[in-house]
Subunit: 366 residues, 2 copies
């Protein structure tokens, strides 16, 4: 059956790295006969420029109707002053919320060819392969009350609320336990239960769920500050980490940076399987919109290409095709091609388009 | 005048590292003629064991009456089940709140002799010297409403509230700007203003204060997730970082771990100068109570000793004496002594007491 994809390149380097995915999509249609029905729309800064809003309702409807969403990046700071409700980031936050994409899967993986790109010693990070499962529709990102109020003396008070319910914690923990069973069978649950009651509940719910449904998986608990340290001290101690929205934001970015190749890392954000068997899903690179290099043809397109490979795997069960892409990317790295972000002495520095073409050339050889 | 110190060793390795400070205090009295009036009391797990509470009111009163508090560590997980209101951590949280110790100064410094102890490449961290100023009496640590409520269906909801006011943000930002003027003259203010209104207010208030009173200091702003990444990518880009309670908790632990020698890092937490000219202050190592090695004589006492040196400097303006301690610690490291946490090939591994004695022997030579 035809697969309905919604492509949302966003702002910054989003559009130029998405161009390279188009080549891979075309290859999949031509060579593997997969039929995609692709529509594209504007989000983030790109939508603000044309429509004055970071995302239109019809784009959200299109995302709901699609089999999967391939997202670029948003966050061009040029729009910082348009107001809190219309900042580019609202695009991704609304998509997560409206499609109830509650589980963000963020692999932090060191590619063998790039072990030297890390600022950490190679002996500390070689072979690193962590999966962070971050809750993405709850916590302090969405809790009410929130806002800025003016006090009688003219000074102000900013408020945000962290809320987690049993059901919200359970469903994301399930995703983590299920993933662990297919990997190293270990889950580390991260919160700040020594200071926050929401963290205390988090720990309780994960502990209960584990005892009830996943006694075969090894479960440990860690405070968020300690986790930040342990990721630097000995990152290979982790298999799957499950945590809330805000801690997940910091810890997954930290974990990605340990690999030294942020431009290489994709992510998937998954919702709940509905009555028709469809599971809403959005795929995006971990890197941001990098406005400083946008439009220069320098950005690394591999994270966006690998996000498409995650899409094939998680949304369509096309593991063989996903692996083809992953192998092609490995081979391109082994051949010595590097974009600026992963450049090292003796390698050949190339731009966005040359890197994208190289992946397709490798696909042709497979 | 006699200096009134309250010593609170706490639980875990707290008491044994505090023992080594006692030697340094004795040296200061004997050789430099400084007169200390020292009282000691129980907090954390040690207080729970004897009094059934993590801290007694009279200890808080004693802390208020003292010129400075020297704190060890609390958090022995053996007390995890006594209930949220009586966990060992309440001791430090209550002291911060009752003495209004709002500015936690956490240096992350790489000692030349220990540059190889870091998991980061030496060329990335050599000479690293960051000062993190963390707000410690506001934010989500103390905001109301908070707690766990049971919903009609028996499931639960955990809630915490992040609150920051103009006044709270301004006073901690002032500390950061003042410190920057004595260092590299650069402040990076960290929040998550693209998601949280409390972060938006944070950024506004820091920006306004800067324009008004500190235009000579270089100010930048960074999102907390990006800061976590930048600390790994290129930590030497930072001079002073100022941030809220929760982000400060994670980022300062992360920054400390970059140095590879957590057991070496002290901290100061400062309040407001009162009408009599006294400024409440508490000094503690950055490391925790490390229950796994407690009582074994293996812990590194240098962070606790350097916390005492910070105390001499910040509470009593005794810079010369503070420097004596810092030089003695440097010399001990140069002589090749190492506790287990900073051990490396070719060095001499020693325990807590031998390390403490070595510092005093070096002081004798100065
Ligand atoms: C763009 C921003 C709102 C977003 C977040 O904070 O969730 C980003 O940092 C991410 O991690 O996907
Ligand atoms: C012990 C704990 C409550 C404390 C905190 O979270 O503030 C500690 O981690 C710290 O950083 O001083």
């Amino acid at each position: 059956a035809t697969k309905k994809l919604l492509v949302l390149p966003g702002d910054g380097i989003g559009p130029e790295v998405m161009n390279e995915v188009a080549r891979v999509v075309a290859w999949m249609s031509r060579v593997r006969g997969i039929s995609f029905d692709i529509s594209e729309d504007l989000v983030g800064g790109a939508s603000l420029a044309v429509h004055g809003v970071p995302i239109r309702d019809e784009v959200i409807q299109a995302a709901k109707a699609a089999d999967a969403v391939l997202f670029g990046s948003v966050g061009d700071p040029k729009w910082a002053s348009v107001g809190f409700d219309r900042r580019p980031e609202v695009a991704i936050l609304k998509l997560r919320q409206e499609l109830e994409l509650f589980a963000n899967l963020r692999p932090a993986k060191v590619f063998d060819a790039l072990v030297d790109a890390s600022t950490l010693k190679p002996e500390v990070v070689a072979g690193l392969d962590i999966m962070i499962v971050r809750e993405t529709v709850g916590g302090i990102y969405f809790g009410e009350p929130r806002g800025i109020e003016t006090l009688p003396d003219g000074s102000k008070r900013g408020i945000n609320t962290e809320v987690y319910t049993t059901a919200e914690i359970e469903r994301v923990a399930r995703v983590a336990f299920d993933l662990a069973r297919q990997r190293g069978n270990r889950v580390c649950s991260v919160e700040k239960c020594n200071v926050m009651e929401s963290g205390l509940l988090w720990k309780e719910v994960v502990t209960d769920l584990h005892a009830r449904d996943y006694p075969d998986v090894e479960l440990s608990h860690m405070l968020a500050d300690n986790c930040a340290m342990q990721l630097v001290r000995n990152p290979r101690q982790f298999d799957v980490i499950v945590t809330g929205n805000l801690f997940g934001d910091l810890l997954s970015d930290l974990a990605s940076m340990l690999t030294g190749s942020l431009g290489m890392l994709p992510s998937a954000t998954l919702g709940t399987v509905d009555a028709t068997g469809k599971r809403p899903a959005l795929y995006e690179p971990i890197h941001g919109s990098a406005p400083d290099i946008a439009g220069k043809g320098l950005a690394n397109p591999l994270a966006q290409i690998l996000s498409f490979s995650m899409l094939l795997r998680y949304s369509f069960g096309m593991d063989a095709e996903a692996e083809l892409i992953e192998t092609a990317v490995s081979n391109v790295l082994a051949s010595g091609l590097r974009t600026a972000d992963i450049m090292s002495p003796g390698m050949a520095q190339v731009g966005t388009a040359v890197m994208g073409e190289a992946v397709v050339r490798e696909l042709d050889k497979l």
